[in-house]
């Protein structure tokens, strides 16, 4: 694909504007030139007509006529003139083609254009009064009309000359400014290239991006540089988080394998009794199950964090909560924890039943792990303000304030040594978050150390057909 060059576009744009300017200017200048030359030509015509008038003499004939004395005239040789009396008699004319004959009829306007043998002429009519034999009585007054014409070829030639001058000058100026412009633009656009070069050097190994001062001092580039900086900071953070995550996952897996391997090697190191082998094998099975659990949780999380679900599967949150509560009840009874489900009879959420049950069991198991005997765990399903809400509340030991922002992070354990013993890998809440957010919901956690924890998941209600029913309570024990 051919790339658009900003500098090329700028240069072309500026040159085009310059060219239009030059053309317009030339056109106006030429118009002005032609107009000026025409006026000058007309003045010349009048002057020459005047001098022809001046050459009218008394013919000293019986009719006391006047004639034009050509000896007194010095005129360009291509010019034509004809002097006529009011009676139409020709008093004198230039050698060459007869002017009035060429015109056909006598023109009425002062100035007139005509052609003789493809030669363009412009003429002038001068109505003059010639005083002959001037004396004390004033002499004889003879009205005459002078027609004077000159070829216009020269005006055109001169105009063309002027046009050529303007065109050549404009072209030279255009070329000169074009070169200057290219140089100038290249120079001025260099911060952009520097910015690109610096941005190009950024990689996952080297995140350094320090825009040079010239970039930061350019009002158009500074925002770009800043947004690149911000973007890189964000990317770096997420990249680091990803790397941390991969490292954590590897750590968990390798530790799990290390446990398994060391248990096996320990068992085979010394000869053991049958009972020792049996308990060793039992231990190995527990280790293996833990690893299996870790692997399946990691896979579940990977699946959930992929692109959002295409299917529009939905399930009844109430049913899921009830089912999970029934399944966990034996464990709750064993730990003497009271497990309640409260809320509306039906609440459709856009989550497949399987995921909904994982969500509920993770939340309730978490609550149970942090609760002790004679405490309550309440799972409430609620519908209000256009949202479906699931709250799981316990009266356990709570989560320290410093740990609270991280509880949804993968592999995060508020108290690692303790939760290790309880078997979690720190993925439970991450899975919950992934399930809820994948379906367009939100999840958040509130906790007061010593008083308990409440996890709330909410979804916007898709259809309006959910009618809150009577609060139905189902209580363990």
């Amino acid at each position: 694909m051919r790339k658009n060059s900003l500098s090329r576009q700028l240069i072309v744009g500026v040159l085009l504007a310059e060219f239009l300017c030059a053309a317009l200017f030339s056109w106006i200048a030429i118009e002005h030139e032609i107009h000026g030359r025409r006026r000058a030509f007309d003045v010349v015509l009048r002057g020459r007509a005047d001098s022809v008038l001046g050459a009218v003499r008394d013919a000293e004939d019986p009719e006391d006529n006047a004639i034009v004395d050509p000896t007194e005239l010095v005129l360009p040789k291509h010019d034509l003139y004809e002097v006529v009396s009011p009676s139409g008699r020709v008093l004198g004319q230039s050698p060459g083609p007869a002017l009035l004959a060429a015109l056909g009829s006598a023109p009425t306007a002062d100035y007139f254009d005509f052609r003789v043998n493809a030669e363009r002429y412009r003429g002038y009519r001068l109505n003059g009064m010639r005083v002959i034999d001037r004396d004390d009585n004033g002499g004889i007054r003879r009205p005459v009309t002078v027609f004077y014409a000159a070829p216009t070829r020269n005006i055109w030639n001169e105009t063309l000359e002027a046009v050529r001058f303007y065109l050549v000058t404009s072209t030279l100026l255009l070329a000169g400014t074009g070169v200057a412009l290219i140089w100038f633009l290249r120079r001025r656009l260099s911060p952009l290239q520097e910015l690109a070069a610096i941005a190009g050097r950024v990689s996952t190994r080297s995140w350094e991006f320090v825009p040079p001062n010239i970039v930061l001092q350019t009002s158009e580039l500074a925002p770009i540089a800043h947004s690149i900086e911000e973007l890189l900071a964000g990317l770096r953070e997420s990249f680091e988080r990803q790397r941390q995550l991969t490292g954590d996952a590897a750590h968990e897996l390798k530790t799990s394998i290390a446990v398994l391997k060391s248990s096996l090697q320990l068992l085979s190191m010394n000869p053991r009794t049958t009972e020792q082998y049996e308990s060793g094998l039992e231990n190995l099975l527990v280790d293996t199950e833990r690893m299996e659990d870790l692997a399946s949780r990691m896979l579940a999380l990977a699946r959930l964090e992929e692109a959002p679900a295409e299917s529009s599967e939905s399930s009844d949150l109430y049913v899921s909560v009830r089912n999970v509560a029934e399944r966990l009840r034996p464990l709750a009874n064993l730990k003497k924890i009271s497990l309640d489900v409260r809320g509306i009879g039906t609440a459709k959420i856009p989550i497949p039943t399987e995921d909904a049950e994982v969500l509920c069991s993770n939340l309730m198991m978490n609550a149970m792990q942090h609760s002790s005997a004679d405490q309550y765990i309440v799972a409430t399903i609620d519908l209000h303000d256009g949202v479906t809400e699931l709250r799981v509340k316990d009266q356990g030991d709570g989560i320290p304030e410093t740990a609270l922002p991280h509880v949804f992070d993968r592999f995060y354990r508020a108290d690692r040594s303790r939760s290790r013993n309880s078997g979690g890998a720190g993925l439970g809440l991450s899975i919950c978050k992934a399930i809820v957010e994948r379906s367009g919901g939100t999840i958040h956690i509130q906790s007061a150390p010593g008083l308990g924890t409440e996890v709330t998941a909410t979804w916007p209600v898709a259809q309006a057909d959910h009618v809150p029913s009577e609060l139905g309570a189902s209580t363990a024990h």
Partner: protein, 228 residues
């Protein structure tokens, strides 16, 4: 020998401890987090520290730094699930002596543990001799000119500890600290009983090397002048 294992994965720590006890005859203490680990290492005089890298409280690197800052020369072996060389370099430069990546071979861990202890005590080979007695730390056997001496595990450990420091006076308290872990009831007369048994067994094979009791000061492994 007494070893501290700092590992938050309780089962793994248990396995390592059991292997060290069974195969090397070491006394082993375990800590589940970095803060406990560093407190125990500072309080007690261990012959080896085995640290996990990722620990709650204080990580392995932090423990190494804190221990080395206090001029504690105890050998440190790091267990890590990460094997990025940068991290390994950082660890070794901070003062760790060796590292093993998880999942490791338990046999290798034991061999490295023994080698580190040996090195720290200025010995490079696994067989130590004093007088006519040779003690093989790999086989955990003691021979007098090729003849096997049958020792109980505690007697072996006692002799092993003393043989690393021939002619030095070792207090009963030090022996207690290095031969037993925290789970053991400390009674110094237990040591006296084991020393007495060991002395008898050495004399039975006609060995001149003996363990001397210096009242109020401790014990000393004494070999005849010509043999040392």
């Amino acid at each position: 020998m007494r070893v501290l294992v700092v590992e938050d994965e309780v089962k793994l720590a248990g396995n390592i401890a059991q292997a060290l006890r069974e195969r090397c005859g070491f006394a082993v203490d375990c800590a589940e987090n970095g803060l406990d680990g560093v407190a125990m290492a500072e309080y007690q005089n261990y012959d080896l520290l085995l640290l996990d890298l990722m620990l709650p409280g204080l990580d392995g690197l932090g423990i190494v730094r804190q221990i080395r800052r206090q001029k504690d020369m105890t050998p440190i072996l790091i267990l890590t699930a990460r094997d990025e060389s940068e991290q390994v370099i950082e660890l070794l430069n901070a003062g760790a002596d060796d590292y093993l990546t998880k999942p490791f071979d338990l046999g290798e861990l034991l061999a490295r543990a023994k080698a580190l202890i040996r090195r720290a005590k200025g010995v490079s080979q696994p067989v130590l001799t004093v007088g006519r007695i040779s003690l093989n730390t790999v086989e955990q056997t003691v021979r007098c000119e090729g003849q096997l001496i049958d020792l109980s595990p505690t007697e072996y450990r006692l002799l092993e500890y003393l043989i690393f420091r021939p002619r030095a006076i070792v207090s009963a308290r030090e022996l207690l600290e290095h031969l037993y872990d925290y789970n053991w009831q400390h009674h110094s007369n237990v040591i006296e009983a084991h020393v007495s048994n060991l002395r008898k067994k050495l004399r039975a094979v006609g060995e001149e090397t003996s363990i001397e009791t210096l009242r109020g000061r401790g014990y000393r492994l004494e070999a005849p002048e010509k043999h040392l």
